[in-house]
């Protein structure tokens, strides 16, 4: 449960587990509490009741300093607007989480190169964020979220600012990361297409659990199922993408 400035329970009676290596999408209409949920898991918002366990640890019992270290080691972040530091190069943005931890320079350089190959960023390592495209910027952000091998990656509308081609690239990348490296990903999204890449979709409404569905083999049918739940969910129809899966 969470209380904001205006006392209002943004989340209530919500309980779920995420498996190690699972790629989970959280969907819900505007105001349903998706962002609050993400902020709570990111430890930048505080709980008024209940608990969150990550790797068996409740980060909300930690002090400020320990929290920072917790985020630094256990969590990776991907944002809608990429949030890259403009003054750093692609490569420097990626190593940022490592620099804080006295990781040897050779090791950092090795990891950057390895990730850059996987993300297709090898030729862009010395560019600044304002010299690359949105898709490239988001791939850089994914690199930053992966470089320190976090237990949990939190993605907030990662495709919200991308065109469909770049979105597809990013989602396929996330999926392969989750499958190959066993990274656990929680992604908040509005977009049923994005959600259809996940293993499971969790729907919330007015801060409460509404429904959850699991992916079967085919993405097309999963997408259809998601749309069905969304129409049941009601909310603002304009929030939903009316597009058919390409």
């Amino acid at each position: 449960m969470y209380e904001g400035k205006v006392t209002h329970r943004a989340l209530n009676q919500l309980s779920f587990e995420v498996e190690k290596g699972e790629f989970l999408a959280v969907m819900g209409p505007s105001g349903s509490g998706k962002t609050t949920l993400l902020n709570l898991i990111s430890t930048i918002d505080t709980l008024t009741a209940g608990e969150i366990l990550i790797d068996g640890v409740d980060p909300h019992g930690l002090d400020k300093n320990e929290l920072a270290l917790f985020r630094r080691h256990k969590l990776g972040f991907i944002f809608q607007d990429f949030n890259l530091l403009q003054m750093l190069t692609v490569e420097e943005n990626m190593v940022l989480p490592l620099t804080l931890d006295y990781v040897p320079t050779d090791e950092m350089a090795r990891r950057v190169l390895e990730l850059a190959r996987k993300l297709g960023l090898e030729s862009l390592l010395h560019k600044r964020p304002n010299e690359i495209s949105g898709g490239e910027a988001q791939r850089t952000a994914i690199g930053r979220a992966l470089i320190h091998h976090p237990s949990l990656i939190l993605a907030d509308e990662p495709t919200g600012n991308l065109d469909s081609k770049a979105s597809r690239d990013v989602l396929e990348l996330l999926k392969s990361v989750s499958e190959e490296s066993g990274a656990t990903i929680v992604m908040v999204t509005h977009d049923p297409i994005a959600a259809s890449y996940c293993d499971r979709v969790l729907f919330i409404k007015d801060g409460e659990f509404f429904n959850e569905i699991y992916s079967d083999e085919r993405r097309q049918t999963f997408y259809q199922k998601i749309l069905n739940v969304l129409s049941l969910l009601g909310g603002n129809v304009n929030d939903l993408s009316a597009a058919r899966l390409p």
């Binding site: 400020k64 920072a68 949030n83 003054m87 420097e92 940022l96 490592l98 620099t99 804080l100």
Partner: protein, 645 residues
């Protein structure tokens, strides 16, 4: 909402970003108004010290006007540039360029009106206080407050004209760029422009040359150098901030082992962006601070002149009577009676000085006999001297001459009276002020003195001797107005540059001291106020730059917090990127000033023979403390703002 209301609301709601340079303009208006109050004061119509004050303040007003014009010019351009996104939206919504100009014009005029009114109000409120300072400094009996329309009219006239100029000019700042460019806003300009290797090197070379020249300045070159060094140093400073420093950072960044370490990555990258983005601002702040340091430093060094005064002027009063002075007795009696009237203790020692020509140099020498000299020395609490027959002792005329003459040893002959003398000693105290004594003055044994019987070549007996009345007065500062008539006659002769009818010479060091002290204090007072305006303006540039970048910084910090940066690490980053912004321009200005004062010392050595080191250290450390306080104040505000998210 009317158009004017829009303008008014823009100013009022942007007050936080306007705050620093609004403060600087208000302060500038206030100082200007206070000076005007002095200038138009009825008491200041008199001659003398007041005249000096009026002249100094008038110059200060001109300086303030010009400086404020440039200051506002620069601030407005930076401010309007920072608001380009807002203007982009307005134009996107269909505002014409003409309307936009009108909006900016209104806004500037509102800002001008408010600062002028606030400045005058503050100035008037504090004028009593400033008059008190002025009265103390000029040692006036009273400096009453007065009411006149003149200072108001001058200040309003000056600043109205100034803001009208700025209003028209600032309209031109919003270049007719495309709406798209405007919409992208201010921070879009965060590009990596490569700094030129050659210009970077040139920056260092020019600074090195300027410093080397300043350090090597000599008596003969100082005036030429005064025109050569400043342009070199200015250009060097410009290149230093626009290129050299970035090349240095570039080199640093190449060393990953050092750069990719803890908070350094973010801190250095951030600091270099800020330094690059504000290179021109840093250049301006550096130059302005240097000028402020130099102004106050130079004026403070005048004050050290008064500090040395007593050492070079141990006598209370000096009256010298030359041949044909019929009023000698009368003048001396009157001085004595005036001293007694003021109940001042005194000892008077008359010295009969003989003049002869030295064969060695061909110059004439003033000769005092041991018994007279020792009487005066003992009165002043100095040791007596006992030269043998055929020996002479130099009489020093300044602290520096003490050292110089100490190394001189001469064999000479007094031409007219054929007396051989060997002189290889100097009396260890300055007794006679520099303007009352011949540079070639010696003490000789009484018998040698008696043997001087021939007049100075080409002169009569009377012209070959004169009487030097030396007064020792323990309360020497109290002698103000003693011998007023004599001082008056002396001054007249000085003004008319005609000393022919003058057969006496009178010096009242106590009065001179008061005059020196007051005039230097006035100049220092004026200078400090102007320097304060300069420094406040320089500070407001820094504040303004920080403020316009705040939104972006805030986003960046919240990201860093998410990525797991601890508060301590964030604090480190804030420090590391704020410090160069505050202390780099200031440090360079300090270095500039130090070298400038090294060359200035040469001028002073030539002029007044005194050391300005102590005053310099005092002035520069004063500014340092002020800057550190300002840093902590801004850091505190900045961190509060960042946390607010």
């Amino acid at each position: 909402m009317t158009f004017r209301q829009l303008a008014y609301r823009n100013v009022f709601r942007n007050r936080r970003s306007y705050a620093a340079f609004f403060l600087a303009s208000v302060f500038s208006v206030m100082v200007f108004f206070v000076y005007s109050m002095f200038i138009f004061h009825p008491l200041f119509a008199e001659d003398g010290l007041q005249q000096l004050a009026v002249r100094g303040m008038f110059i200060a007003e001109v300086v303030l006007y010009i400086f404020t014009l440039f200051f506002l010019f620069y601030s407005m351009s930076a401010f309007l540039q920072a608001r380009s996104k807002e203007f982009g939206i307005l134009m996107h919504l269909g505002m014409t360029k003409k309307q936009l100009n009108k909006l900016i014009f209104f806004e500037t005029m509102i800002l001008g009106t408010v600062s002028t009114v606030a400045g005058i109000a503050l100035g008037f409120a504090f004028s009593k206080f400033f008059f008190m300072i002025g009265r103390e400094i000029m040692e006036l009996e009273a400096l009453p407050l007065y009411v006149s329309w003149k200072p108001f009219a001058l200040t309003i006239g000056a600043f109205a004209s100034l803001f009208i100029i700025i209003s028209f000019v600032s309209v031109a700042f919003v270049r007719t760029k495309g709406i798209l460019d405007l919409l992208q806003g201010y921070w879009k300009t965060e590009e990596i422009t490569q700094s030129s290797k050659w210009l970077s090197a040139l920056g260092f070379v020019l600074l090195a040359i300027a410093y080397a020249l300043a350090a090597m300045v000599s008596d003969s070159t100082v005036y030429t150098m005064a025109f050569i060094i400043p342009p070199i140093a200015t250009l060097g400073t410009y290149l230093f901030f626009t290129h050299s420093i970035h090349s240095l950072l570039q080199l640093y960044k190449r060393r990953r082992g050092v750069y990719w370490h803890k908070t350094r990555l973010v801190a250095i990258a951030e600091a270099s962006v800020k330094l690059k983005d504000s290179a021109q601002m840093f250049f301006i702040v550096t130059i302005v601070s240097t000028v402020a340091f130099l102004t106050v430093g130079t004026l403070a060094s005048f004050m050290s002149y008064t500090g040395d005064f007593r050492e070079s002027n141990p006598l209370g009063l000096i009256y010298i009577s030359f041949n044909g002075n019929s009023e000698e007795r009368e003048h001396v009696d009157r001085l004595i009676s005036q001293l007694e009237g003021k109940e001042l203790e005194y000892d008077m020692v008359p010295l009969i000085v003989k003049r002869q020509t030295s064969t060695l140099s061909g110059n004439d020498v003033d000769i005092v006999r041991t018994s007279d000299f020792n009487r005066l020395a003992l009165t002043l609490g100095f040791n007596p001297v006992y030269p043998q027959s055929g020996e002479g002792i130099f009489i020093p005329y300044s602290q520096e001459s003490l050292e110089e003459l100490g190394e001189v040893s001469v064999e000479t002959r007094l031409m007219e009276s054929d007396i051989d003398l060997s002189i290889d000693e100097v009396y260890p105290h300055v007794m006679f002020p520099v303007n009352t004594v011949n540079f070639n003055s010696i003490v000789v044994n009484d018998s040698d003195y008696a043997a001087i019987d021939e007049p100075l070549a080409g002169f009569g007996d009377g012209e070959s001797t004169f009487t030097y009345y030396a007064f020792d007065i323990p309360d020497w500062e109290e002698t103000v107005s003693v011998g007023k008539e004599l001082t008056g006659i002396m001054q007249q002769a000085v003004v008319q540059e005609d000393f022919r009818d003058l057969n006496f010479f009178f010096v009242n060091p106590g009065e001179d001291y008061r005059l020196f002290k007051s005039s230097f204090a006035i100049l220092l007072f004026i200078g400090v106020m102007v320097a304060a305006v300069f420094l406040l303006a320089a500070g407001s540039f820094i504040y303004f730059k920080l403020y316009t970048g705040l939104e972006r910084d805030r986003r960046q910090y919240s990201l860093l917090v998410r990525l797991g940066m601890t508060e301590k690490e964030l604090g480190k980053i804030v420090n590391r990127q704020l410090m160069p912004q505050f202390f780099l321009p200031w440090g360079v200005a300090l270095l500039h000033s130090t070298f400038a004062f090294i060359s200035l010392q040469v001028v002073w050595d030539e002029f007044a023979e005194l050391s300005i080191l102590g005053e310099m250290v005092f002035v520069l450390s004063g500014f340092t403390i002020a800057q550190i306080l300002y840093f902590f104040l801004i850091r505190w505000r900045y961190i509060e703002h960042l946390r607010a998210s």
